[in-house]
């Protein structure tokens, strides 16, 4: 942290204001303690200069211009992002849109209610289900992990709790939209998903900006999958061009649980996301999918962690980037297999497509394997559009300007193919098309 950045952070954040927020949330004692831990971790992070050797994480955030830390004007929740049980991901079971302070209504359909699904704004959950939160909140992401998780723990208050009871299979997605509405230097959405034994659900979490002012968004998602649960978790970062985003997603899978996670980064001046998965029980499997769309001077970092504790589990990370302008992408993928993780398969792949001579991608895979009976494979590629592919399309009459679109959509489509159901696959393709129209 540079001296000016440290000073600016101190201008906007303080233990007093964090405590004030806690009082407004009606923090129980244990949560007050968490906020304090968070603040201390943040302070320690500010003082640690330069950052500890060996941590590549947050390379992007550190290059963010200090002046971009700005409370901006306070805006209303845009009506267009508001209500209704439908959207890009099709008909929904539940929807919740919230801002930095304002809370929109939360909708949950009859099917989900009858099945006992809990979908609550975080503050309401603190009042009505404190036992669930006390047990699970910050159980997957400790406040001390980075200075930003510290800041998040000190300041969080917005977000949601989702609990899918044992055996319940929700057919339609639950969608959250966290909207940076300004008025504060930071926005700290927190999502806790508890997927009960044998349950199945799809959760889509979007992060957006209400206006064009810069904002710092530091979100945490903690996903807990009980035995045999299946969770499809899709995150979409569509912040404005001035904002910075830090997303930390931590998942734990019990035996035979199944996780599909897709993170799409399509906005922000810079963005850094961590997709961590710990396969605790045996026989689980996790697909970690990521798509980074860079344009202008955007900086994107995606880090994955495939942590194999249980035996006979599978994990597969596929992270792609499509980079235009002078954008940059850093991929840092770690596969860790403990001695207990025998008979596991862990794959990792990071293809990067550069559509401009000024765009750059970097790929750093790491394998830490203590078990001896495992299969691991990693691959990375960085390159532009293949001229033979382009010529093939031209030879079929496709105009030059359309060849890039077709090849790029094809490049990204493989991610959609890895999603577990036809609806999600189709929706993903449609969203890609929309994004391509906006970017090219």
């Amino acid at each position: 942290m540079t001296a000016t950045a440290t000073r600016r952070f101190r201008d906007f954040f303080s233990l007093e204001s964090a405590r004030g927020l806690g009082a407004a949330c009606g923090d129980p004692a244990w949560l007050g303690e968490l906020r304090l831990r968070g603040w201390r971790a943040f302070e320690a992070g500010l003082e640690a200069s330069p950052r500890p050797a060996g941590t590549r994480w947050l390379k992007v955030a550190e290059s963010w211009p200090d002046e971009a830390l700005d409370p901006g004007p306070k805006l209303a929740l845009p009506a267009a992002l508001g209500l209704g049980l439908d959207g890009e991901w099709g008909p929904l079971s539940g929807a919740y849109t919230y801002g930095c302070e304002s809370e929109g209504a939360l909708l949950l359909d009859e099917e989900a209610r009858r099945a006992g699904v809990l979908f609550l704004p975080l503050r309401e959950a603190l009042r009505s289900r404190p036992e669930l939160l006390e047990r699970h909140l910050f159980s997957r992401t400790a406040p001390e992990e980075t200075l930003y998780t510290g800041l998040h723990a000190a300041y969080f208050g917005q977000g949601a709790l989702i609990h899918i009871p044992k055996g319940v299979r929700l057919s339609r997605p639950l969608r959250l939209r966290g909207v940076h509405t300004g008025g504060h230097a930071g926005f700290f959405p927190h999502l806790l998903v508890l997927a009960g034994e044998g349950s199945s659900a799809t959760v889509v979490e979007e992060t957006r900006s209400a206006g064009e002012a810069p904002g710092l968004v530091s979100g945490v998602a903690e996903l807990v999958l009980e035995r045999g649960a299946q969770l499809n978790y899709i995150s979409f970062q569509g912040l404005n061009q001035a904002s910075g985003s830090l997303q930390r997603q931590s998942t734990v899978l019990a035996a035979d649980a199944r996780l599909y996670t897709l993170g799409i980064v399509a906005g922000g001046a810079w963005s850094t996301s961590f997709l961590g998965t710990r396969l605790d029980g045996g026989g689980g499997s996790a697909d970690l999918l990521g798509l980074a769309l860079g344009s202008g001077s955007r900086r994107i970092e995606i880090r994955t962690l495939q942590d194999h504790v249980g035996r006979s589990a599978d994990s597969d990370a596929l992270v792609k980037s499509i980079l235009r302008g002078s954008s940059r992408f850093y991929f840092d993928g770690v596969v860790k297999i403990y001695r207990s993780g025998q008979n596991s398969n862990a794959f990792q792949s990071n293809p990067n497509l550069l559509l401009s001579g000024e765009a750059r991608a970097e790929s750093v895979p790491t394998l830490e394997i203590e078990a001896d009976d495992v299969a691991c494979k990693h691959a990375a590629s960085i390159g532009g559009i293949d001229e033979e592919e382009r010529f093939y399309l031209l030879s079929r009459g496709i105009p030059l300007r359309d060849t890039e679109t077709i090849i790029t959509e094809g490049f990204a489509a493989e991610l959609g193919q890895r999603l577990p159901d036809a609806n999600l696959q189709e929706r993903f393709v449609a969203i890609l098309k929309d994004l391509a129209t906006g970017q090219s």
Binding site: D386, E387, E388, E389, F391, Y392, L393, L394, S395, R396, G397, I398, P399, L400, D402, I406, I407, E409, G410, F411, A412, A413, E414, Q417
Partner: protein, 252 residues
């Protein structure tokens, strides 16, 4: 005589500093099937790529005319939309793009409009049947993980839907076993009609046992050294390319 579809005059083409085509002359009329036969390294694929406008092949001299229009420097996509088609010897994969979506995009480009989806699906299914292709093929990514035979069938499928006026088939027989060759040649015979012309480029005569050419050209060292009727195929079969290579050396 019918209209001249393709006319090539004095075509010289270089790859890097090396000249590969050394003055090619060729005339193909509507309703004709021409076979261009030559040994490996004679420049056959260079000719097909140069006609289509591949950027690695530099035309240093000569002209290419299509239906009376000089297309020597016309952009590749424009030539394709006007009705020139090249079936590649080694078609590349387009990962992530399904055969269906690809065919839809190229037919739209060629026809200038997107017809009703239902009609398109029926047309595609019909063409696939002609080529004895499994309907599941349509959901796969273009040429991605295809066998040699599947790639060639996919090329023929595109030709069937694009309905080109001039089709250049570059070694379409290579990599095919005898059964696949028969299926592909049957498809070619069904697709061919008097409104179009075909230029079949091949090393062997075996494809020409199924598709009968009206004219045969022997291509050696970057030039057409002899032209004739289908009897030339038999001559090549019995004598090989030696006589023609000698002839080319004598002429050089």
């Amino acid at each position: 005589m019918s209209e001249v579809l393709l006319k090539i005059e004095g075509l010289r083409v270089a790859v890097g500093e090396k000249e590969i085509l050394k003055g090619v002359d060729l005339t193909v009329r509507r309703g004709e099937i021409h076979a261009l036969m030559g040994p490996n390294g004679s420049g056959k694929s260079t000719l097909s790529n140069a006609i289509m406008g591949h950027p690695h092949y530099r035309i240093t001299e000569g002209r290419i005319w299509f239906k009376g229009e000089d297309i020597t420097e016309m952009p590749t996509d424009e030539k394709a939309r006007k009705g020139v088609f090249l079936a590649f010897q080694y078609p590349v994969a387009i990962p992530g793009v399904t055969v269906t979506n690809f065919l839809r995009a190229i037919t739209k480009a060629r026809r200038g409009e997107e017809g009703p989806a239902k009609e398109f699906r029926a047309e595609m299914a019909g063409a696939m049947q002609t080529l004895a292709m499994d309907p599941a093929f349509a959901r796969r990514y273009v040429n991605d993980g295809f066998s040699g035979g599947e790639k060639k069938r996919c090329e023929m499928l595109q030709m069937a839907l694009l309905k080109p006026e001039l089709a250049i088939l570059d070694e379409t027989d290579s990599g095919l076993d005898i059964d696949a060759l028969k299926v592909v040649c049957d498809g070619i015979n069904r697709i061919f009609n008097p409104q179009m012309a075909m230029l079949i480029i091949t090393h062997y005569q075996r494809m020409l046992n199924y598709v009968t050419p009206h004219r045969v050209h022997v291509f050696v060292a970057g030039r057409v050294v002899e032209s004739g009727g289908s009897e030339l195929v038999a001559a090549l079969e019995s004598e090989g390319y030696d006589r023609f290579i000698k002839k080319s050396l004598a002429a050089a």
